[in-house]
Amino acid sequence: MDPSLTLNPLLLVSGLLFAIGLTGVLARRNLLIIFMCLELMLAAGNLTLVAFSRFHLVDGAPAYDAHVFVFFVITVAAAEVAVGLAIIIALFRSKKTTDVTEVTTMKY
């Protein structure tokens, strides 16, 4: 990769993606899309971890502990998606909707 690249643009891309994901979680009402935006935020965190590991060399190699951590984040995200989608299906079965503003049983 080009040695003129600095850490700043990478962190900016990751931060922008996190902000996009957060905006989506707050603005959208479809449960599936909210869930996808959550995944975007997780992926933005992964990008920050990998960028810092590449810029912090240990014995001339990237700090691979960050890669292990990203590995764990991906695993947890996969498990989370499986359980979350099962919950969404159960919700759709009982309420016939995936709109979060219509799921108000526990509000009152």
Partner: protein
């Protein structure tokens, strides 16, 4: 090479915007696949080959196929034809914009964030897969056992949740 970085960064960001602004959940899912493929390219540019491959296989492959599967399973026609409420969108956009301002302010202050990319001097016969494997089954043997238990719990939980009648 810097061009490639900006190209794939744009892919990641526009994919993310596509998820937020898509009317149809199916197009949101495809925007997300594009975003994740761009991110895999960024990982590979940062010499994280294993993570890049995992990103394509697990995220863009397995997780997004699962999402599409569920979207097709639920009735998309019925889901979300109503418009977004404007005050909610403005408030959410405000929170996002505030976060962007915060992050750019922190990055503007410099510190170590402006440092150039250091050159790798690692021995080529030790690939990153080998090193990550050594770490996973050496230093991090307990976390990987816990992750295994977590995955088993998630599997059992999904089976229980998808049963029609909970007795």
């Amino acid at each position: 090479m810097t061009f490639l970085f900006y190209f794939f960064s744009a892919l990641v960001l526009f994919g993310g915007l596509g998820v937020v602004f898509a009317k149809n959940p199916v197009s949101a899912a495809f925007s997300m696949v594009i975003s994740f493929l761009g991110m895999a390219a960024l990982f590979i540019q940062l010499d994280a080959f294993l993570i890049g491959v995992l990103q394509v296989l697990v995220y863009a492959g397995a997780i997004m196929v699962l999402f599409l599967f569920i979207i097709m399973l639920l009735d998309v026609e019925e889901v979300e034809k109503r418009k977004l409420s404007l005050p909610t969108v403005i408030r959410a956009g405000g929170v996002g914009a505030a976060l962007v301002v915060l992050i750019s302010t922190v990055l503007m202050r410099g510190g170590t964030a402006g440092q150039a990319l250091p050159k790798l001097v690692a021995s080529p016969e030790k690939s990153d897969v080998l090193r990550i494997g050594e770490l996973l089954f050496g230093t991090y043997w307990l976390p990987i056992q816990i992750i295994a238990v977590l995955l088993l719990t998630a599997t059992v939980g999904v089976v229980v949740l998808s049963k029609r009648e909970l007795k």
